[in-house]
Amino acid sequence: MLGYLIRRLFYAVLAVWAVSIISFFIINLPPGDYVTSYIAQLAIQGNIIGAEEAESLREYYGLDQPSYVQYLKWMNQIRQGNLGFSFEFGLPVNDVIGERLVLTMILAAATIVFIWIVAIPIGILSAVRQYSIWDHTFTFFGFVGLAVPDFMLALIMMYFSFVLFDFSVGGLFSPEYVTASWSLGRGFDLAQHMIIPIIILGTAGTASLIRITRANLLDELRKPYVATARAKGLSEWRLILKYPVRMALNPAISMTAYILPFLVSGSIVVSVVLGLPTVGPILLKALVAQDMFLAGGIILLIGWMTVVGTFLSDLLLVWADPRVKFEGR
């Protein structure tokens, strides 16, 4: 068990390192660099900077050094908990993405919880009342949700929630709570604003978890021990909840690890459309503006968070289902 944990941890660390390389590789891919974008921006404001000045700016930002030096420098900073400096914001990257990262993760975690809360009861209901009107309805919505692109759904839901229900548009907080300190009211406000993003993000995952739960439960219900229990006169719901449901829940947990990267990916797109203060919109901006340390920092951190999330859900799975072999994984 301990060996398994250490091995998983080792893989996680390896993944973290790989993510840092990938992040750095990506931020160095674009032709040109931040100085190029910066000069372009100045040119639009009527300030023209020549090649000589551009070189001195590059030197100033350390962009003239070979990339491995830049990588090592970056890694060294990160070791000290400093993700570098955002050229565009003129601020340390840490300051730029602090709360946004937390909100990104809150959104992903809330979506997972939403998927569980919605999908498992519906999956059970669908299995127990197979072919009922509920089963059909949920199946229908599940499939449509699965196939509609997130970004499409996001804008439409935002528009109609405004037109029909007078929801405040976009964002994660109402104006009065945007900069307030954390309180019950602010939490409630956040929860309210997360409804639409969570629904959009959660539809695909919910649909597949409903299917998985339903299929597993149906398999489980056909097993002889259920018939035996039924013959003994155990009440139907108690019977279902006692064993079959527990068995059918394992995939829900194992799916969590698998779904996390998808949720984070999805949340970026949805955040861009809904203008949520998560890392999504600033990642897009940073990439466009070639604000490399900001972009790299975000890719790095969400990569890490996902690796850690995956690791945690692996542990959860081991804890929940001792049948999982330590060797094979």
């Binding site: 891919l29 674009p30 196939a147 528009y159 698998y258 984070v264 970026i268 797109v269 990642l283 990569g303």
Partner: protein, 382 residues
């Protein structure tokens, strides 16, 4: 023990005749029979076939040059094609006129069904080359030549803000989006099969390294990586180059699923008795891989590829939507939807969102088809 085993074996003649068809059926036929029972998958497959027919015949099906714009008929709602005029079959569309309303600034259009514009099959339209070689100007539907006036037009799905025909643009967008998916899947297949096969066939350290790589790639959210790499394209690349670059990027991250399937299959297959049997009968390694192993799971690969295709399409659409993928003047589902991604479209000109319908349909259909294939892929499972 006394009875002749040979005679005993030959006894159930009648049963043999009944099962004759199945007995001589090849694996492909068995898969097909099993797949056929999956009615939704069959419908889905038919739909996919239709869509790829559109890919091939986009020009023939189109009614207008997709880039042809006319500002003063912009944002025109879809025109209904009337098959009958009263009881008389006379396909036509009604004349539509309109202008920008100076008070609301909306485009107001009015249909005047007293003025009928005749529509016919195989009408003459713009010149194009069928399959890229046969020059022709025939289109499936179009305005009847004899009654054609310069002010007549047909916009089955309306027009966009530049007055371009949404229907024709949708057809050409379908061409790009569906082929980009196919190329991407093909590339992922190559990556997945090579890496999966190497991993599964040789095992050991190589397998372990590849598996760790797969794990890492899968644990990283793909969209930020797509975004990062897509943002890195030199944007002066031609549409074709960007098209292939996007394909490559998407497949760089999409091969892992296929790789896992292939590896898993190789691992099981390597220990199958019939593979050992082939080896012991003196078959070469090449024959073993290509005659025995690969055919045993190509149906699984097809199923996995089918299930990977929707992910490709969604990835392309999403990237293009974010402005990092294909860009105008390229027409793809992503760029069409990007045009529709605004408040005024939802509020005033919802037909611009019609490109979402084929996206949804194709994604659903591919999923159903892939499921059907996956279930039917192993005809010997029961």
């Amino acid at each position: 023990m006394e009875s002749n085993p040979v005679e005993q074996e030959l006894a159930p003649e009648i049963e043999d005749i009944v099962e004759e068809r199945i007995s001589v059926a090849s694996q492909r036929q068995l898969i097909w029979w099993r797949f056929r029972k999956h009615r939704v998958a069959v419908v889905a497959t038919a739909l996919i076939v239709i869509f790829y027919t559109i890919v091939i015949f986009a020009d023939f099906l189109a009614t207008n040059v997709p880039a042809d714009s006319e500002a003063f008929r912009g944002l025109m709602p879809p025109q209904q094609v009337h098959i009958f005029d009263g009881w008389k079959p006379s396909p036509h569309v009604c004349a539509v006129t309109g202008a920008r309303n100076p008070i609301t600034y909306q485009k107001d259009y009015v249909t005047d069904c007293t003025e009928k514009i005749q529509v016919r099959l195989f009408a003459r339209g713009y010149d194009y080359k069928l399959f890229g070689v046969i020059p022709t100007d025939r289109h499936l539907i179009g305005l009847s030549d004899d009654t054609l006036r310069p002010e007549d037009y047909i916009y089955i799905l309306g027009t966009d803000k530049q007055g371009r025909d949404m229907y024709s643009r949708l057809l050409f967008g379908t061409r790009i989006s569906l082929t980009i998916g196919l190329f991407g899947v093909a590339l992922s297949l190559v990556l997945g099969i090579v890496l999966g096969a190497v991993s599964g066939f040789y095992g050991g350290l190589i397998d372990n390294l590849i598996q760790r790589l797969v794990e890492i790639v899968r644990s990283i959210p793909s969209i930020p990586l797509y975004m990062g790499m897509a943002a890195a394209f030199p944007h002066d690349w031609s549409i074709l180059k960007i098209y292939f670059a996007i394909t490559i990027i998407i497949s760089l991250f999409a091969w892992t699923d296929l790789g896992r399937v292939v590896r898993g299959r190789f691992l099981t297959m390597r220990d199958e008795d019939f593979v050992t049997a082939a080896m012991l009968s003196g078959a070469s390694q090449r024959r073993i891989i290509f005659r025995h192993m690969l055919p045993s799971f190509y149906s699984h690969i097809i199923a996995a590829a089918t299930l990977a295709l929707p992910l490709m399409i969604i990835a392309e659409t999403t990237l293009s939507f974010l402005g990092l993928g294909l860009r105008p003047p390229a027409i793809s589902w992503g760029t069409l939807l990007q045009d529709a991604q605004n408040v005024q479209t939802i509020a005033l000109t919802p037909w611009l969102m019609i490109p979402a319908i084929p996206v949804i349909l194709v994604i659903l259909a591919l999923n159903f088809m892939g499921d059907g294939l996956r279930d039917a892929a192993d005809p010997y499972s029961n």
